[in-house]
Amino acid sequence: MTPAGLLPVVIAGSLFVWFAQMVPVIASGDTLRFVWEWVPSLGVNVSFYIDGLSLTFALLITGIGALVMLYSARYLAGHIHQARFSLFLTSFMLAMIGLVISDNLLALFVFWELTTITSYLLIGFSHDTAKARRSALQALMMTGIGGLALLAGVILIGTTAGTFEMSEINAMPGVLTESVMYLPIVLLVLAGAFTKSAQMPFHFWLPNAMAAPTPVSAYLHSATMVKAGVYLMARTHPSLSGTDLWLWALTIAGAVTMVFASVMALRQTDLKMALAYTTLMALGALTLLLGNNSSYTITAAATFLIVHSLYKAALFLVVGILDAQTGTREAGKLFGMARAMPVTAAAAGVAALSMAGFPPFLGFIAKELSYAGAIAVDSEPFFVAGAFLIASALMVAIAGIVAFRPFWSKSGAPIAGVKEAPWPMLVGPVVLATLGAFFGIFPQTLATMLVNPTVASIIGDAEPAKELKLWAGVNLPLFLSIATFALGFAIYAATNKLRAALINLTERSPKFDNGWDNLMAGIASGSKALTRVIQTGVLYHYMVATFGTALAALAVTLFLRSTGTPALDFPQVELWDWLVFLLVLSGSILVLVTNSRITALAGLGVVGISLAMVFIFYSAPDVAITQLLVETLVVVLFAAAALKLPSLSVEPLRKRWLDAFIASGLGVVTTIILLKVTAGPVDRELTTFFETASYPQAFGQNIVNVILVDFRALDTFGEIAVVLIAAIGIFAMLKSKPEEEKR
């Protein structure tokens, strides 16, 4: 095994130890807080807050992390990108830790998004396959949507509560529940949580995420990332729960997900997929439980959270082993492998029993508590309990399918020549399974260490956590357990029939996954269509849009905002003024109507000359000279270029009403504005200064020239720069040879 594979194990391991040594403190009811101001002006701190809830998560993340990394150190040995894998997995772990120990909601969000990115890279790890790329994108987009919703929610919480520190917010009862922003806040936060934890109807990305290497599935998609949503709900529970909205939203989403997922699990033939759906079921269960406030439900939630992480990670790793050693994960191909791989079989068995909820395993206690909690819910105990019953029964069946049949079933021939997995891959399943058993027998240790503090941090110390014990006496939960086993065995026996039925049922029912594809296709085609309409590639359309916008902006504003009508009493308009007017007018008309370039050019010349006369009459000799010179040059250039240009196409008899409208509209608007602007006199403060300073201070009698080369020399400098640049550009254009156009 390479250092690239082992380094992460060391990191995760040491972090686990570091968190573990905090257990006594936390168990004693204290909390730890560390604050470092990050972006004070936005109220963002890197503030770490360690209580039961965050510590439990931290331990799961680092502990299971260490085991999974050890496992993958072997699983991916020799893979060219093992280093990248380790990098991503480690950074994911760190992000996840940051997420669960952040007290500042914005910091939490930062880590939240970091888990999204790293998981994107992990799911797409086998990036050569289109499937992996698609699943990665799907996961990214779904959790991305949630992330953005969460961001909005976080901002609203921050502005409503005046702080982003969760510990402070939770210390202000009702600050959110009683604010007007409560509804949007809850919806947005839940949107984040549900997408991350794959609650219906955002669930479909999770099974696809199984495209990732098995260790990733074991880690992200059972133990950690998908639980981030659960963590968020638990973390915000104190300040958001206790309302019908919260109760029903979580109950319905949870229950539906739970049942749907466990049914879908039964449908799968790929063991990994089956596990994926049971994970969904577990998340649904946790969501449902967190909807409530009773000590029962929360204790159940805390316990179930832990036990599920233990056995689910173990089973994923087991399936990974089967896959690695036998080359298949198909339920129909794996029988009686126990002899070939006894340790795996043992670990699988123990984990499965915990999953199925048999005593004396922790799973049993969790199940009992769940039933107790279900009965205690404030919503509809009957339905909730029913949901749990169905789900748990299916768990029993799935446990059999995943962990019993492949190893012990005689109904098929074991695959020959299969060896037991190497020890690094076995450590994980064995340890995790053992823990499940150990805590089953000594539940109190777990309770005092983690469960009670967790419960405390969710519902406070007002109501202590319910006691974890194997034998709670003869009560309703016990009967429900018995019913569960009976039902479970029945289902297991009838697996194949049921599966067949389910398969042809689901074949016919619409699939969310296709919905996703349609959505993607829709975005693609929709945006394409829109772009075809807007960015047509035809200059004419762009011009119409641009001029049209200008016209609209000016005309509308003129109509809505400007007051008064311009006067039209031509004072002191001389005869020659009219003559110039006529010349310009006829010149422009000539340009408009002619199909001869030279006639057009001549028309332009007339306009230019006439305007030059305006400059002559109205005392602007410099401008007149410049105008005439430039006009001449324009003619020269045009006449030269025209030698190699085609003559004007005869204007086709297209009706150009739109063009005419825009053009005349702009003309009219310009005139009106100008008439209004020139109605009064102009402020000549600047000019007066120039007139008085021109000779005494700037030693020039030609005020215009003095302005150009002295008062506003910077303008002139920029102006000659423009001329030079134009020359450079034109030179470049004319000297770039056609053969160089092939590039």
Partner: protein, 139 residues
Amino acid sequence: MNSVILRAGARLQVVLLLVFSAYMMLRGHNAPGGGFIGGLIAATGFVVYAIASGTADARKALRFDPNDIAGAGLGIALIAGLMAVFWGDALFTGQWLFIGATETEKGLPLSTVLIFDIGVYLVVLGSVLSITFALEEAV
């Protein structure tokens, strides 16, 4: 353009227009004119010549690559603007020197402003010729 008359006229024009352009530029500060107008007038001379005798001759007559003339012109204008520094003034502050100034006569004024205008003159001359010559060579 194989016109004897135009060629003959063009040569005369170049000379006259060069003189005239210099005149227009130098007097610009006190009467209509200035670097831009001067530059344009000078350019027209060479443009006529280019049309009459072809750009090859025109480039020969001009001696320098018009692009370089323009570039140098911008440089000169820039220097004129930056010169103010040596007098510790802000950019483009005019610095004046009156040669042979007496109480009565103002003397011959030399100034960074004039240098600046020369820069303008050169940029315009160079750019316009660069453009027209390149175009003439392309058609």
